[in-house]
């Protein structure tokens, strides 16, 4: 069965489409090396990168973002993987529906509902908004992504393999641990990378439930961007682009194994 080849016109269009997708970011990155803060090229310079890496607020918020992302990722990956496995064995309509609902709920709604929830909760517990509230919120919206990715991987696993394991003397937990888990591990890692990027990048929900001392990098970037264009943001953007880009490339490689 031969696949039809793309016509030249289609190829040209694709080129334009890819340009549209990538040029804005490339331009952003290019201008991060611009000496001046104006959109006129005035010479190559690393000064904006230097400024970014020296800014205490930026560094602290990046650290916060990393901590939150790592903790939230670990939790949501573990929970989500176990959940996907359980659903794969036998579906639970209520749970699947909740997860689906979670995915389609607009971020702003998730955010304000969590804010309302926390404020209500704080009437009984003597706690405040802070890193922990952010982490919990991130877990809440990441799990569904993990479930989707791991589920997709599980669908490629032959259900007979676990039966064979049981047949050979393994109990249910051993069958999961020695047969299924190794088979889905690339998917689990890909899910973790996805959860990490989603968490690290989140602004809307985080801004609503973060406390005073738990500013994240997106919050700082937002504040700067709100005030207008600042090449420091360009520099940060380029760094994030490279960082995330690597993560996603790794994830793609993993998902194709």
């Amino acid at each position: 069965m031969t696949v039809k080849r793309a016509s030249p016109a289609l190829a040209v269009y694709a080129l334009c489409a890819y340009a549209f997708l990538h040029l804005p970011l490339l331009i952003l990155a290019v201008f991060s090396f611009n000496q001046s803060r104006f959109t006129v090229w005035q010479g190559f310079s690393f000064n904006w990168y230097a400024a970014a890496l020296k800014d205490a607020q930026l560094l602290e918020s990046t650290a916060n973002s990393l901590i939150i992302a790592v903790v939230a990722t670990v939790i949501s990956t573990v929970f989500g993987t176990l959940c996907a496995y359980g659903l794969w064995k036998r579906n639970s309509r209520p749970l699947a529906t909740s997860l689906y609902l979670n995915l389609v709920t607009p971020e702003i709604v998730t955010g304000i509902s969590l804010l309302a929830f926390y404020q209500w909760l704080f009437r009984f517990l003597r706690v405040q908004l802070g890193m922990h509230t952010v982490i919990l919120a991130h877990v809440a919206f990441s799990i569904a992504y993990v479930v989707i990715v791991v589920m997709a991987r599980l669908r490629t696993v032959d259900a007979r393999l676990e039966e064979a394991a049981l047949d050979l003397g393994a109990n249910e937990w051993q069958a999961f641990r020695f047969v299924t888990l190794p088979a889905i591990l690339p998917g689990v890692i890909a899910a973790a990378l996805l959860a990490f990027t989603v968490s690290f990048d989140d602004y809307v929900i985080t801004s609503l439930v973060a406390g005073v001392n738990s500013e994240t990098l997106p919050m700082v970037i937002y504040a700067i961007a709100r005030r207008g264009v600042n090449p420091v943001v360009n520099a940060i953007s380029a760094l994030i682009f490279v960082g995330f880009g690597c993560l996603i490339l790794i994830s793609q490689r993993l998902q194709s194994t």
């Binding site: 007979r160 394991a165 047949d167």
Partner: protein, 318 residues
């Protein structure tokens, strides 16, 4: 020989249909037993109930006298060779074979695994992955993986159906030889009657969830108890309520004399290489198929002929 496996009135009823209905059978120790039937007859479901992947809705399953009807698969000393082999893709051949051993206490895993691989003639490929070996080799790994656990009964779910047709005969012979050597009871499920006949000490024929007949290959083929069994094991000519196998149906241009023979007209003669199939029609429009040696006389469409058979070759049903 004592019974190693016993099924008593085992049924699997679903709301919509009965997959298995009241199946009872006994397997003797060391025998090669086949469950034969068309797809959907319930033979695989029966196998899965013996293995523990499905629970019967009625009946009992006993292994060496002990009731295992509701035991988990890993609590039964029964092992399965799956139709698609179900080899663990992330483990090597050797690790696959060792898998069951590692779930038990004890040692010498590697040694016992290698012995099993020797038995199936795969020594030398123990470090390969399942994706790196051929279909026939994978089947042997699955066999080794199960045999190394010395199960009381080895269940085989159509293990030859995924192989190339020209490979099947060879693998069949190897399978029989291995079974003889290890002396383990084999329960072999298939829809191919030639496989069942050539491999089995005894076989059981199933249809629509029920076990129609159990017996040796000769008994099943020559003395089928129902029309279904007769028709499934080979061709049958139905003439006036009596069944006669094509190879027992004699046909000639001259009447035999000592036997009453029916006149018929040849419709078609097909050369099959080792024999000739002659299709003829009786005066009452009933079709008859006779299998004749290619060394005898030839027949052409339209030839008037006579058809007869030995009474001993008649298939009679109770």
């Amino acid at each position: 020989m004592e019974r190693v496996l016993e099924l008593r009135g085992v049924s699997k009823h679903y709301p919509s249909h009965h997959a298995v209905n009241g199946v009872s059978l006994n397997l003797a120790h060391g025998e090669f037993f086949s469950l034969l039937g068309p797809s959907g007859c319930g033979k695989t479901t029966t196998l899965r109930m013996i293995a523990g992947f499905e629970q019967p809705t009625a009946g009992q399953i006993l292994l060496n006298g002990a009731d295992i009807t509701y035991c988990k698969p890993y609590e039964r000393n029964v092992s399965t060779v799956f139709q698609n082999y179900a080899l663990f893709p992330h483990l090597t051949v050797q690790q696959n074979v060792e898998f069951g051993l590692r779930r038990r206490s004890g040692n010498h895993y590697a040694q016992r695994a290698m012995e099993a691989l020797d038995l199936v003639q795969l020594a030398g490929k123990q470090s390969r992955r399942p994706s790196e070996i051929s279909g026939g080799e994978r089947q042997r790994v699955a066999l080794a993986r199960s045999l190394v656990l010395a199960p009381d009964v080895l269940l085989l779910d159509e293990p030859l159906s995924a192989l190339d047709p020209n490979l099947r005969k060879q693998v069949r012979a190897e399978l029989k030889a291995i079974q003889r050597r290890v002396g383990i009871t084999f329960l072999f499920v298939t829809h191919d009657q030639e496989e069942a006949l050539s491999l089995s000490d005894r076989l059981g024929v199933m249809s629509a969830g029920e076990l129609q007949q159990v017996g040796t290959p000769e008994e099943i083929y020559l003395r089928p108890r129902t029309r279904f069994v007769a028709g499934f094991l080979g061709g049958v000519n139905w003439i006036d309520g009596v069944g006669v196998r094509p190879e027992a149906t004699r046909i000639a241009k001259e009447p035999p004399g000592e036997r009453p023979a029916r006149p018929a007209t040849v419709v078609q003669s097909t050369f099959l290489g080792n024999c000739i199939h002659v299709e003829a029609r009786l005066p009452n429009e009933q079709p008859v198929l006779a299998e004749v040696s290619r060394l005898g006389e030839g027949f052409r469409a339209g030839d008037p002929v006579y058809v007869w058979w030995e009474p001993a070759d008649e298939l009679v049903f109770q």
